[in-house]
Point group: C2
Chain length 443, copies 2
């Protein structure tokens, strides 16, 4: 193993160049920019590093599939994505988002932390082992999608099509971040999501608000509706909403004690006045949510305009925890509206997927935590669930794989989805080492 | 009287030209366009028609004051405004908004129905009497402001300054509209208004909505707050809100029976699904309101974005009925928020004024109704209050005048504040006759 680590240290600048190469290729799925070019570049890079690789095109942006056999008939599956978020606001970037400039030991580029850094760390890990030993102990399969940043709308289609090729003995998800103290972290699953838009329309045109004594106001209707969804103690009031929620196990609660959550740091960085009064780490990880992401009706410009609006809209996102089922939640939500007497509400679903959780005792989890010690001198910290959502469920439930977050790369200040996205080069090299160790020790 | 009416018929095209002249002069207070020019044109037109006139400048846009003595030492005060609403959306106008084009017996122009038509009808009435009889039986004073369309923010300042000059024996408000059946109407007062903006801010920046389990969401806070203001039976829940509301008198309720409200016509024109279940005419006129004119928070664009917003805002307009006092309502509103535990709510007032009501037995009311018979063959219908708000209170409460709406000019399809604002030329000529008759018969 030490030979591989030495090889990584000696070739660090070459590995940085490889990462810069893919970061310089834009690949914004929301704007359909550079998608084909980036997927082709990635196929070429995989081939150049010893893998068989191809573009798979079913619907939407292509998936890049890469594969290399190992000595044993076992496979690790790597999930990554080559697409990135839009770069706006462009004027806040110090260097061009696709210039991949190196400053102060960091690489700055859109996508470098999310998710090209992890993707390249994995590819460079394979290259390093091949260079040192000539072959891999186990096989590797890469599933790299191009629509993660737009909600993976076609992921299921690809998985159904590629089910046989994706057979494996464990899966590393796209990667993880260090915590605010620099400790490596990983996670055993993610929350599910359900995103609904509610529209209430009472008329074709806005009316002078003198008519508000006799014409229903959709903004009021929406307020009354929303008020029945959650009370001011943050209890979600949809009948049966919590019914399938699984309480965290003793083991999971033990893991929580280890998690760093720097209250003051987040307070400063968001300009927060206060947190909700609750066990923050536990809530962040185990609480399902019913959140207003957006609401609008009527006149919202400067000063005053007296209007009885003709329509009102709210966007509601639910984050679901094991074993909540998004389709069941939609049914309960509709039943709730019916029982509360809200008719004529148009409900638009902007997508959903289920929560997912793998066991800390799975083979892939064990090796990930064990090998962390070789690189960092300690096992990485483990979030039982990501506070955010991710479509891990397709891999756990459909492909029947154990999934874990994988190697840490970013940090809380990596500015994912924001201007000046960056990673530390030293974190990148450690990530290559961690992935190498996972591959070498998977058994 | 018949001589005056004949004179008006004979000079109709000249009167249309005079109206077109002032309609061609733009005077948009919200955009500060043409204000000085229009006020000067108006001074000139008053002088050309036998009045002493001048611009009075205290604060904001100037007031045009005009005066002419009569045989008796009595004065009627006319309140009007020379400013108009913005013209947008411009592409929906068939002819230019300041071209004053005549089509199908109508004049189309921004401001022709609100309020330049009434202003000119009054000036042409004076001219007609002077031409026929050489003098007026009573004196007339014009108070024509230039900020009505932006909420009359400086009206009180002008009235305080001009209090002595504005002494009179009755006041015609800016004018009234015919109902949907073409019946002339007037009103004895108007609702008051109080327009508040509520802002709740919980952070400096929006956060990823995975944090919604631990960080307060201002949109939820706003929903819970608004929900305490009005219930889904349309009851306003602010303690003491209805305390000072005066029940309509028997006489007022009798007036209501006469009011035309074409339910189906309004339903069609607004594209309404339904009305609130209540006595529509009575509610329209006598119910105070608590209306959401606008609400916004978070992401309101296409599709989905998961965000815990940093701020939320609602615009609330109250329409107040006699004897509700806007300053008292603000106090009650603040006390309500305090009692309900809503702290850190920023309350911005965008202005307010009290409701106002004059007696149907006042001199000016009696003569207005009586003379209606001479022009229309029947007394005009009388709304005890306008469903909308207007700053009549300053004239009734501060200047101690009896006020009535005045002559009808527009109709429900006059498109006030909208593209293709228009009046019927025949309605304009009838309005001149009605004002002439009011002046001749005021005693």
């Amino acid at each position: 193993m030490i030979e591989v680590f030495n090889y990584i240290d000696k070739n660090s600048s070459k590995f940085v160049e490889e990462l810069k190469k893919i970061c310089k290729q834009e690949s914004i799925s929301a704007k359909k920019r550079g998608i084909e070019e980036c997927s082709e570049l990635l196929v070429d890079m995989m081939k150049a590093n010893g893998l068989k690789a191809e573009k798979v095109k079913e619907k939407g942006n292509p998936v890049v599939y890469g594969e290399i056999k190992g000595k044993r008939e076992e496979y690790l599956l790597f999930y990554n994505h080559y697409d990135v978020q839009p770069v706006e606001p462009l004027n806040e970037w110090i260097s061009e988002p696709f210039s991949a400039e190196v400053r102060d030991g960091r690489i700055f580029a859109r996508g470098v932390a999310d998710n090209k850094g992890n993707l390249m760390a994995r590819l460079m890990a394979i290259k390093s082992i091949l260079e040192v030993y000539g072959d891999l102990p186990i096989g590797i399969k890469f599933f790299v999608e191009g629509e993660e940043e737009i909600g993976s709308p076609n992921l299921k289609i690809y998985l159904e099509k590629m089910k046989d090729r994706l057979k494996a003995d464990g899966c590393l998800w796209e990667g993880s971040d260090k915590d605010s103290k620099g400790n490596p972290q990983t996670y055993l699953g993610a929350k599910g999501i359900l995103y609904l838009e509610l529209r209430i329309k009472t008329a074709e045109v806005d009316q002078h608000s003198m008519y508000s004594t006799i014409i229903p106001n959709p903004a009021w209707k929406l307020v009354w509706l929303l008020n029945t969804l959650k009370d001011d103690k943050e209890n979600i009031l949809i009948e049966g909403f919590y019914e399938d929620v699984v309480e965290p196990t003793e083991e999971e609660l033990k893991l929580l004690k280890d998690i760093e959550f720097d209250e003051e740091e987040y307070k400063r960085s968001f300009g927060l006045k206060e947190y909700l009064k609750r066990d923050l780490v536990r809530s962040l990880i185990f609480s399902p949510t019913c959140n207003i992401s957006g609401i609008i009706s009527g006149y919202t410009g400067e000063g005053s305009k007296t209007v009885n609006p003709s329509w009102a809209m709210a966007k509601i996102d639910f984050r679901l925890v094991p074993k909540q089922d998004p389709e069941d939640i939609i049914r309960k939500f509709k039943r709730h509206l019916e029982k509360k007497g809200f008719k004529d509400v148009i409900i638009i679903s902007h997508g959903y997927y289920a929560p997912s959780k793998s066991s800390i005792n799975s083979k892939i989890a064990k090796v990930t935590l064990e090998t962390s010690k070789m690189v960092y001198g300690k096992p990485c910290k483990v979030l039982p669930l990501m506070p955010g959502a991710g479509p891990l469920c397709y891999f756990t439930d459909f492909l029947k794989l154990d999934v874990i977050g994988g190697e840490s790369l970013g940090r809380p200040d990596s500015k994912i989805h924001a201007p000046n996205e960056n990673i530390l080069i030293s974190d990148y090299l450690e990530a290559i080492k961690h992935v190498s160790a996972i591959i070498m020790n998977f058994k």
